[in-house]
């Protein structure tokens, strides 16, 4: 029987690989919206036998709203303002990035095997996806030059960490007030980054981080 959660996780992996090989920024933002929604849905299908409470349904909606609509929407506005469409000359090429993404999956599978910890419902794929997403996010952050792609890398890393949390922490620790606080931080963080991005664009006429090299010792 195909489990829904495994199907969702494969979608997350797919979105990670897509984002690594994409050079169109609008496409990247759309992929992030998709990934945000899928990642929010994962915890719902992890323990189907437990039943779903009213709190978790409400929280799910808030999370989809923030991760799938508000954050990508805000990125989209920022993108329109800076009028830049594509990533140029990344430090690592798109094909190589895709290959590295595949390598991340293999390495994560190996790490998950070695860690040998019991996951809720035996979802080995959950930890594999989480580690891959985190590593790929960090990779995007380091190898792309446009500031906006770096924000996307940060978001992807944050998604990965959320999945690690879902994989490792028991349901009983979940406190929606606290999780909401984390989400709010993320939202405000992206907003602040968007504002700084906008200012960088008007000061430098570009959002290329290679231009940010004035402060040195």
């Amino acid at each position: 029987m195909i489990q829904i959660s495994d199907a969702l996780l494969s979608l997350v992996l797919l979105s990670v690989l897509l984002s690594l090989s994409s050079n169109r920024l609008v496409g990247l933002v759309r992929i992030m919206a998709f990934q945000g929604i899928v990642v929010s849905l994962v915890p719902l299908f992890l323990n189907p036998q437990q039943g779903v409470g009213a709190g978790s349904i409400l929280f799910l909606q808030i999370m989809i709203l923030i991760k799938g609509v508000l954050i990508p929407g805000f990125m989209y506005i920022a993108l329109n303002k800076v009028k830049i469409r594509t990533e140029v000359e990344p430090f690592v090429g798109y094909h190589a990035s895709l290959f590295i993404g595949l390598a991340f999956i293999v390495i994560s599978a190996y790490i998950t095997e070695r860690l040998n910890i019991s996951l809720p419902g035996g979802h080995a794929l959950l930890l594999i996806t989480a580690i891959t997403t985190m590593a790929s996010g960090l990779f995007l952050l380091m190898t792309r030059r446009k500031a906006i792609t770096q924000v996307i890398g940060y978001l992807m890393m944050e998604n990965g960490i959320y999945l690690v949390g879902a994989a490792l922490a028991k349901e009983s620790h979940t406190q929606y007030v606290v999780e909401f606080g984390v989400l709010l931080d993320l939202l405000v963080g992206v907003m602040v980054m968007g504002i700084v991005l906008h200012n960088i664009n008007s000061a430098f006429d570009d959002v290329d981080t290679a231009l940010l090299g004035r402060l040195k010792d």
């Binding site: 960490i161 490792l168 606080g181 602040v192 960088i200 000061a203 090299g213 402060l215 010792d217």
Partner: protein
């Protein structure tokens, strides 16, 4: 109600953002005064938390809260005069963000829940970012971008570390609330491997925010590009808050019997930070960057002292207090120098002793204080850390420690002498004002007083904060 300590500045900040600037300045000072009183009530244990699952007045948190509140009061008075001189474009946002910054830092000081602490520390990054790029120069924008991105990524790793600590709790079959005080009690049954892994990620995460090398790269940029009152807050208050996150996790590991491991990690980070600061201070051309590197050095000293245990830990806590007092005073003086000469470059300044005599006194005295000369408190704290390290037999580390201190003093004294006495032709742009002088004098004076006379209740708070990790004056 303990939560008022951060709710009041939050509310005041929201008001100041929307009200006219003149009213905002009044709100800033009033909120600072109110906050100081609330922090005092918290210290005297008069107020109890309403949401005790998330907040608690721990001794170490109270100490950080008191220091933050005290220096914020003086910085707020200074910034009223500073803002008048600089004609800031978005002054109401600056005032609002300063108050939000105070609110989030107080929240860090009181947070007891692992994830609430994380939320509060990340929030400090977000609300302080507008303080840095308020002038919107290219340099300030670059500094803000680095600050927000590097710190957010770093702090995201700390969240991962917190999840690992949660996992160590599940593996150890303990079911308690996810708060430091609850975990402390059951620390022995936590899974050691994941607890260690959690600590490494937490120290990388919060260490980034604290300015420990090699994750310090944002710090010199952010501290030098922000307006001086904001630099003073970043250096004097924010770094302590990040240290609090590291300290609480270190305490947890100590309770779990893994104190030796976390101490060694802290010592390595501490010494690397000091060495990096020593290298970069030597040929520094910008006096605000010089002060920023000195903050990295002092955070290294605090991390080192905490790890030493016994007398060293007591010294580290004293160092935390005095570093905040003296460094924020120095940054306030540097604001006067920047206003006076209109430049941050050391070679374009000079003859401060004649041109800006009162600023010269506070800057030079502050420099003597930060280098460890009596009658300022850093003299005592560094001495105690050195004695503590000798007692615990860490001879190699303490040699590196002392060597770095000498290098930093030698590197910095050259620059300070140049700024104070070298020839300078040119006029002073903005004269000194009493409101911009008194706060830095007051902060230095407090350090000098606390050096010779430490109130019994403050002493007791420090001791309560450090007994959990085996610190004390007799150990």
């Amino acid at each position: 109600m303990l939560e008022l300590v951060f709710l009041i500045p939050l509310f005041a900040g929201a008001m100041a953002t929307f009200l006219p600037v003149k009213l905002g300045r009044v709100i800033l000072v009033i909120a600072a005064l109110l906050h100081a009183q609330l922090a005092g009530l918290c210290w005297l244990k008069i107020t109890a938390p309403m949401f005790d699952a998330y907040f608690r007045a721990t001794p170490e948190g109270t100490l950080v809260l008191l220091v933050t509140s005290f220096i914020f009061l003086f910085i707020s008075i200074y910034s009223v005069s500073y803002m008048k001189e600089t004609e800031m474009e978005n002054e109401h946002i600056f005032i609002g963000c300063m108050l939000f910054f105070l609110a989030t830092m107080s929240m860090v000081a009181l947070a007891d829940h692992l994830i609430v602490l994380w939320i509060a520390i990340e929030a400090t990054t977000l609300v302080s970012a507008p303080l840095i790029f308020v002038h919107r120069s290219k340099e300030a924008l670059e500094a803000t971008w680095k600050y927000v991105l590097i710190c957010s990524v770093g702090i995201a790793l700390a969240l991962l570390g917190s999840f690992f600590i949660t996992l160590s709790m599940d593996l150890g079959q303990v079911d308690v609330p996810l708060s430091f005080s609850a975990l402390q009690a059951v620390a022995a049954s936590l899974d050691p491997v994941w607890l260690k892994a959690g600590f490494v990620f937490v120290i990388i995460g919060y260490g980034t925010k604290m300015g420990l090398a090699p994750m310090h790269t944002w710090l010199p940029d952010a501290h030098s590009e922000s307006p001086s009152p904001a630099s003073a807050l970043l250096s004097g208050a924010l770094l302590n808050c990040a240290f609090l996150g590291v300290y609480k996790t270190h305490t947890l590991l100590h309770a779990a019997g893994l104190g030796a491991y976390s101490s060694n990690v802290l010592i390595v980070f501490g010494l690397v930070s000091m060495s990096v600061a020593a290298i970069f201070i030597m040929n520094q051309t910008d006096y605000k960057r010089m002060l920023a590197y000195s903050s990295i050095e002092n955070m290294g000293i605090i991390a080192f002292g905490t790890a030493i245990g016994g007398l060293g830990t007591y010294g580290a806590m004293l160092h935390l207090i005095h570093h905040s007092l003296i460094k924020s005073s120095l940054f306030l003086s540097s604001g006067n120098i920047l206003l006076g000469y209109g430049t941050k470059l050391i070679r374009n300044t000079g003859n401060m002793a004649r041109l800006l005599p009162r600023t010269f006194v506070s800057f030079f005295a502050g420099f003597a204080g930060i280098s460890g000369f009596p009658p300022f408190g850093i003299f005592i704290s560094e001495l105690l850390i050195i004695i503590g390290a000798f007692r615990s037999g860490r001879f190699v580390s303490i040699t590196i420690f002392i060597f770095c201190l000498i290098l930093i003093f030698a590197g910095a004294i050259r620059q300070v002498m140049r700024m104070s006495f070298a020839q300078h032709d040119g006029d002073i742009l903005v004269q000194e004002k009493i409101l911009r002088i008194l706060p830095s004098y007051a902060l230095l004076l407090t350090s000098a007083i606390l050096c010779v006379w430490l109130p019994e209740s403050l002493y007791q708070t420090i001791i309560n904060a450090i007994t959990a990790i085996g610190g004390g004056v007799h150990g």
